[in-house]
C-alpha cells in the first residue's frame, strides 16, 4: 500500500494549516507592522517605543515579575508535586483542589485579589476588625509601587502555580519506581534520591514547565491591569494601550515584537541550559 506512506502527513496537515494560518501569518503581519509605515521601511515605531514615558518601567517590571514569579512557582509546584506523591489516601482530592485556579481566568483572578487589597477590601476589613489598624490602609496606590508588585506576585503565584504543578505531576508519574528503589537499596538518603534520581529524570518536564511559565509571565497583563492599572506598567499592557487607546498599531506591534524576542531568547536559553541526553530520558 503506497498510500499509507502519506497518511501521517495527511493527518498532520490540518494542524500545520491551522498553525500557519493563525500563528505564522499574524506573526509575519505583526513583524511587518512594526517595521513599516505609510512611506516604507522604518525604525520609527521602535524609536517611539523606546522613548516613551512608560517603556523603561514596563521593561523593568516585566522582567522583575518574571524573575520573581517563575522560580517561586516552580519551587512551590515541585514541593506540591512531591508531597502529592507521598499521599496515599485522598490523593485525588488534593490534586483537584490544587488545580482549581487553573479554571479561573486571569482577569477574574486579578479582580479577586483586588477585592482583597482595595481600600474597602477584605484585608483592611479584617485588620480593622482585629484592631491592628484604625483606618483603612491604602495598599494599591502609585505612591507604593512595591506593594502593587507584591500583590501581583501573590495573585500570579496563586493563579498559575497549578499549570506548573500539573506538568510536574505528570513528569513524576513517568519516572519508574525502580530507580528510586535501587538507590534506596544502595543506601541513598531521601535528599540524595531527590537530588540524584528524581530531579535529573524530571528535567524534560521542568524544561517544559519553565518555558511555558516564562513565556506566559512575559505576557502578564490582565492581573496587573486589575490590581495596578497603569501604576505598574508591563510590556503586554503597553502594547494594549498603544493599540487600543492611542490607536497606533505600529508601536503596539513593536512592543509585541519585543516580547516575542525576549520569549524566544528565554526559550533558547532554557533549551541550552537544560539539554537532556537521549539515553537519560530512557
Amino acid at each position: 500500500m503506497r498510500s499509507e506512506r502519506y497518511i501521517p502527513y495527511v493527518l498532520v496537515l490540518p494542524s500545520v494549516v491551522f498553525l500557519l494560518f493563525l500563528f505564522a501569518w499574524p506573526l509575519l503581519e505583526a513583524l511587518l507592522l512594526s517595521v513599516r509605515n505609510s512611506s516604507g521601511w522604518t525604525l520609527e515605531h521602535f524609536q517611539r517605543m523606546a522613548a516613551d514615558l512608560y517603556f523603561k518601567d514596563a521593561l523593568k517590571y516585566t522582567l522583575l515579575l518574571t524573575l520573581t514569579i517563575v522560580p517561586l512557582q516552580v519551587g512551590l509546584a515541585l514541593g506540591m508535586a512531591l508531597l502529592l506523591g507521598s499521599i496515599a489516601k485522598g490523593r485525588d482530592l488534593f490534586l483537584y483542589v490544587w488545580t482549581i485556579p487553573l479554571g479561573i481566568s486571569d482577569l477574574a483572578a486579578g479582580i479577586v485579589w483586588l477585592a482583597i487589597f482595595t481600600e474597602r477590601g477584605y484585608l483592611n476589613s479584617f485588620l480593622q476588625a482585629v484592631g491592628v489598624i484604625q483606618q483603612p490602609q491604602l495598599w494599591l496606590s502609585y505612591e507604593t509601587p512595591w506593594m502593587i508588585f507584591l500583590a501581583v506576585v501573590a495573585a500570579e503565584v496563586w493563579r498559575a502555580t497549578a499549570i506548573v504543578f500539573v506538568i510536574l505531576v505528570a513528569g513524576l508519574q513517568l519516572i519508574p519506581k525502580e530507580y528510586g528503589e535501587a538507590a534506596e537499596v544502595f543506601g541513598a538518603t531521601p535528599w540524595q534520591r531527590f537530588w540524584k534520581v528524581t530531579l535529573p529524570l524530571l528535567r524534560p518536564s521542568l524544561q517544559v514547565a519553565l518555558i511555558l511559565r516564562t513565556i506566559l509571565a512575559l505576557e502578564v497583563f490582565a492581573v496587573v491591569v486589575a490590581l495596578g492599572g497603569r501604576n505598574l506598567p508591563v510590556l503586554a499592557g503597553e502594547a494594549y494601550y498603544w493599540y487600543n487607546a492611542y490607536q497606533n498599531p505600529g508601536v503596539a506591534a513593536a512592543y509585541a515584537v519585543l516580547i516575542l524576542g525576549i520569549s524566544v531568547a528565554a526559550t533558547l536559553l532554557y533549551l541550552r541550559l537544560m539539554r537532556t541526553k537521549q539515553e537519560a530520558v530512557g
Binding site: L53, R120, G228
Partner: protein, 429 residues
C-alpha cells in the same frame, strides 16, 4: 448506497443551517456603536431601548479602534455588513475623510418635526454642506459629592459657583477632619481624566487646550492643580468609573462622565448631590459630548437603518435612553415628572453647568482621526509626569508640546472651540 445517503443527509443539514444563518443576517440590521460598551448598558440597549422597534436589530458595541477599522475595511472591500454606525462626534472624522459615510439630508428632512438642537444639527454636518450624522444623544461630565462632605465647604462657597481654589480648600478641610484624602478623579487606565485636563482644566485657566498648551498660564495652572492633588485619593490612578468609589465611601467628592456617575445617583439619591464643574480664571470650562447615528456607504439595508434612526430619535425613546443608559436627549423634550430622582439631579446639574453666564463649552477633539488616541496621550502623559512623577512643569510642557505639535501637523487639524480658529493646522505657541 448507504454511504451516499449519509452524505446527502449531512449536506442538506449543513445547507439548512447555512440558509438559516444567512436568512437571519439578511433580516436583521447590524448596528455597531462605540457607545454602550459596558455589558450592562449593551444589555439594556438590546432588551429595553430597542424593544419596541419593528424589525430585527443586532446591536454590537465596539471600542473605538475596531469600530473605525471595521467600517473602513468593509467599505473599501465593497462588502458592507454594518447597517448603522453609532459613535461620538470625534469617532466620525476618519470615516468622513475616507468617504465611507452616506449623506443623510433626506433622513434629516423626514425628521423635521423632531426639534433637534440646532447646534447639534450643524455639528452633524462635520464641516461639509451635507448632513453626515443624525444627533442621537448627549452627555457631559459633572461633579458629584457625598452629602457628608457638604459641612466642610469653605465659608461663602456655593456648590453651583464653586471655583478651583474653593474646591482645593474644600478637599483640604475634608482631609483635616477625616484624616483621609476624599477627592477623586478617574485617572485609571480606562478612566476619562484626559477629558478633565482637555475640556475643564485647560479651558478654565487658558481658554484653550492646544494653542496655549505650554503658556505661562498653563504652567501656573499645573502648579495649582498639583497642590490640589495633595488632597486627592491616591487610588485615583486605578479609578475608571467614579460611581464605585463614591458608593463605597472611598471618595466623597468626584468628577466624571455623567454615565459613569449614574449608579451612585440612582442607587442612593439621598446621599449624594450633583453639581457643575468648578470655575477658573476664564470661566467654567466644560465638555458636552454628542453622539450621532450615521449610515455607511453601501449599507445592506438602508431603509431599516433609516427606520431605526427615526425610532431612536422619538421623544419617548430618547427618554428611555436617558432612564436606562444615562445619555440625555438631543431634541427638545419635556422630561416626565416620574423620572427617577438620581437622573433628575444629573439633568439639573447639566443644565446649570451649560446655562450659566460663565459657561465655556469646548468640543471633543475634531479632525484628529486615528490620532485622537495619541492626542489624549499627550494630556495623560503631561498629567502623569507633572502630578504623579513630580517632574519640572516647564520642562514637561515644552517636551509634550513637541508631541502635540507633531500630531497637529500630521493631521493638519485646524483649531476647534475653545481655541481661536486657525487657517492651517492648529498651532502650539
Amino acid at each position: 448506497m448507504r454511504k451516499g445517503k449519509w452524505i446527502w443527509l449531512g449536506l442538506s443539514g449543513a445547507l439548512l443551517v447555512l440558509s438559516a444563518v444567512w436568512a437571519q443576517q439578511a433580516a436583521s440590521l447590524l448596528f455597531v456603536s462605540t457607545q454602550f460598551t459596558p455589558i450592562e448598558e449593551a444589555q439594556r440597549m438590546r432588551q429595553v431601548i430597542l424593544r419596541d422597534f419593528q424589525g430585527r436589530v443586532e446591536f454590537i458595541p465596539e471600542d473605538n479602534a475596531p469600530f473605525t477599522n471595521r467600517i473602513l475595511s468593509e467599505v473599501r472591500a465593497g462588502r458592507v455588513n454594518v447597517g448603522l454606525a453609532g459613535g461620538l462626534h470625534g469617532d466620525f472624522p476618519p470615516l468622513v475623510a475616507a468617504g465611507a459615510l452616506d449623506t443623510l439630508d433626506d433622513v434629516m428632512n423626514q425628521l423635521q418635526n423632531r426639534r433637534f438642537s440646532p447646534t447639534f444639527v450643524s455639528l452633524g454636518k462635520m464641516g461639509t454642506p451635507n448632513q453626515i450624522y443624525i444627533p442621537w444623544m448627549q452627555a457631559t461630565y459633572i461633579m458629584v459629592a457625598n452629602r457628608q462632605a457638604l459641612q466642610y465647604l469653605p465659608a461663602g462657597a456655593n456648590l453651583n459657583t464653586l471655583t478651583y481654589s474653593q474646591l482645593k480648600e474644600w478637599a483640604a478641610n475634608v482631609q483635616r477632619a477625616t484624616g483621609r484624602r476624599m477627592l477623586g478623579f478617574p485617572a485609571g487606565p480606562r478612566g476619562l481624566m484626559h477629558r478633565f485636563t482637555q475640556g475643564y482644566l485647560y479651558p478654565s485657566y487658558t481658554k484653550s487646550a492646544v494653542t496655549k498648551f505650554r503658556s505661562a498660564e498653563a504652567e501656573s495652572m499645573w502648579l495649582e492643580f498639583k497642590s490640589l492633588w495633595q488632597h486627592v485619593n491616591p487610588q485615583s490612578t486605578t479609578y475608571d468609573f467614579m460611581q464605585e468609589p463614591l458608593l463605597s465611601g472611598e471618595v466623597w467628592i468626584a468628577w466624571d462622565h455623567i454615565a459613569r456617575l449614574r449608579d451612585a445617583l440612582n442607587q442612593r439619591p439621598n446621599d449624594f448631590v450633583a453639581f457643575p464643574a468648578p470655575i477658573g480664571p476664564y470661566g467654567r470650562g466644560f465638555m458636552p459630548v454628542l453622539a450621532g447615528l450615521a449610515i455607511p456607504k453601501g449599507s445592506p439595508n438602508r431603509s431599516t437603518a433609516v427606520a431605526l434612526i427615526e425610532y431612536l430619535t422619538r421623544p419617548e425613546v430618547q427618554v428611555t435612553t436617558l432612564v436606562q443608559n444615562g445619555f440625555f436627549p438631543v431634541i427638545q423634550v419635556r422630561l416626565p415628572d416620574n423620572l427617577p430622582q438620581g437622573i433628575r439631579m444629573g439633568a439639573d446639574a447639566i443644565a446649570r453647568q451649560a446655562q450659566s453666564n460663565v459657561a465655556l463649552p469646548s468640543l471633543l477633539p475634531v479632525g484628529l482621526g486615528a490620532r485622537g488616541g495619541e492626542y489624549n496621550k499627550v494630556f495623560q502623559d503631561t498629567f502623569a509626569r507633572i502630578v504623579l512623577r513630580n517632574e519640572d512643569v516647564r520642562r514637561v510642557l515644552d517636551s509634550e508640546a513637541a508631541n502635540l505639535r507633531r500630531i497637529m501637523n500630521e493631521t493638519r487639524a485646524p483649531c476647534w472651540s475653545p481655541d481661536p480658529a486657525s487657517s492651517g493646522a492648529c498651532p502650539v505657541d
